[in-house]
Symmetry: C2
Subunit: 218 residues, 2 copies
C-alpha cells in the first residue's frame, strides 16, 4: 500500500507512507482473498495514475489486476468501492508524524511530504482529490483518511507543548490546518507553481503564530 | 454575471459579486452579440448548478439559452471555452474588498462571503472547482479569477498597515492566504461541516498572527 500511503498519506497533510515500493507485496499475508485485494488495489492505483478517474472501471481494473471480474464486482461493486478501499487500506500503515525535536522542524517535515505528494508527476494524491469530486464514496474515504492523519499529527503539537515551545491550550487541529492548508490551497486550488520554500514558509508561519499564542482561546 | 460573481467571486477567497440577481440583464448593452453572451453564460451557470460538469455540453447550453448552436460553437468552441468565459466575465464586476475599519473586521467579512459561497446549496463555486479538475481551460480561468480577487483584497492589508495595526513589511498575499485557506481546506477538501464560526476563527487567527509579525520576514 506504499503508493497510496505515499500519495494519499501525504495528501493527508500528514505524510508519505514510510514503506518503500514493494514492501506491501513482500509481506502480504497468504490467502487468495488478500492476494486479490493487493492485486486489485495496485491496479486501481495504476489506472488512476495513468488515466485518471475516467480510466477507472471495474472491468479495466479487473483486467489489469488479472482477477476475475465477477470477483471484483462482488467485493467492490463499483469504482466508488474501489477508491474507498484504496484509501481505507492506506490507513492501515504505520505512518507516524515526524519527530525532529522542534515544532518548526516537525511542521516543515510534514509540509515537505505534502509538497512532494502534491507536486510529484503524476501525483496520486491529486488524482484522488480529483476523484473525490466524482465519487461520494471516494470523498468520504478521503475525508476519513485525512482525519486519521491529522489525528496522528496531534503528537507534534503535544510534544511542542511538553517542550514548553507553545502554550498549553494550543488547539492542535487549528495549528495543523494553519500549517498545511496554504500549501493545499496554492497547489490544488490556486494551481500556481509552488516551491518547497513555500511549503517551508507555511510551516514556519504557523509555528510562529502558535508560539505567539494565536491558536489558544476561542 | 451576479451568479458567477457570487459563486466564483466568493470562490476567490474574495467575495460575492455585489450585484443582485438580474442586475446584469437589466444593464446589458444592446447588440445581439452581448445579448447572446449573456444568455449563454446564464445557461452555463444554470446547467452547472443543476447537473454539474457532466450536464454541460455546447448543445445543452445552446438549447437552454435559445441561441443557435453554430453560434455557440463558433464563439466558445467547447465546454472549456464556456467555463473560461463565465469566469472571465465574473472578473468584469465592481467587487471591492470590504472596508470595515479594522483588519479583523475586513478578514471576517471576506471569509463570511467565502463561507456563504462554498456552503450555499447548490454552490456555483464548488461546481466550478469541481469543473476545474475536468477542464484545463476552466482551471486556468479559475486561477486568473482568484488571482484577481487576491489582488483586490491587498487593499485590506495596505489599510491595516496605514492604521498601524500590523507591521509595514507584512506580506499581503501570505496573510490573505492564511486567512482564507483553512476555510477552503475544511469545506472543499476535508469536507467536514463548517460553521460560520469556523470562518470567523480563521480570520481572527490570521489577523492575530499578522499583528504578531508572523507574515513579515522571509
Amino acid at each position: 500500500m506504499s503508493g497510496a500511503g505515499a500519495g494519499a498519506g501525504a495528501g493527508a497533510g500528514a505524510g508519505a507512507g514510510a514503506a518503500p515500493p514493494g514492501r506491501e507485496r513482500a509481506r502480504r499475508p497468504g490467502g487468495r482473498t488478500a492476494r486479490n485485494r493487493a492485486l486489485v488495489l495496485d491496479a486501481v492505483r495504476a489506472q488512476l495514475l495513468e488515466h485518471g478517474y475516467d480510466g477507472l472501471s471495474v472491468d479495466s481494473v479487473a483486467e489489469r489486476a488479472g482477477v476475475h471480474r465477477t470477483t471484483v464486482y462482488r467485493r467492490w461493486r463499483d469504482v466508488g468501492g474501489l477508491l474507498a478501499d484504496l484509501l481505507d487500506a492506506a490507513r492501515d500503515d504505520d505512518w507516524a508524524a515526524p519527530d525532529t525535536g522542534s515544532l518548526t522542524g516537525d511542521l516543515v517535515a510534514v509540509n515537505r511530504e505534502v509538497h512532494e505528494a502534491l507536486t510529484s508527476t503524476p501525483s496520486l494524491t491529486t488524482a484522488l482529490i480529483a476523484a473525490s469530486f466524482r465519487s461520494a464514496r471516494a470523498a468520504s474515504a478521503l475525508r476519513d483518511f485525512w482525519e486519521d492523519r491529522y489525528r496522528r499529527c496531534a503528537l507534534i503539537v503535544e510534544r511542542a507543548v511538553l517542550r514548553g515551545e507553545i502554550p498549553e491550550r494550543t488547539d492542535a487541529r487549528r495549528l495543523l490546518v494553519a500549517a498545511t492548508a496554504p500549501l493545499y490551497h496554492q497547489v490544488v486550488l490556486l494551481r500556481v507553481p509552488t516551491s518547497v520554500q513555500f511549503a517551508d514558509q507555511a510551516a514556519h508561519d504557523a509555528a510562529r503564530a502558535a508560539v505567539a499564542g494565536v491558536f489558544t482561546g476561542p
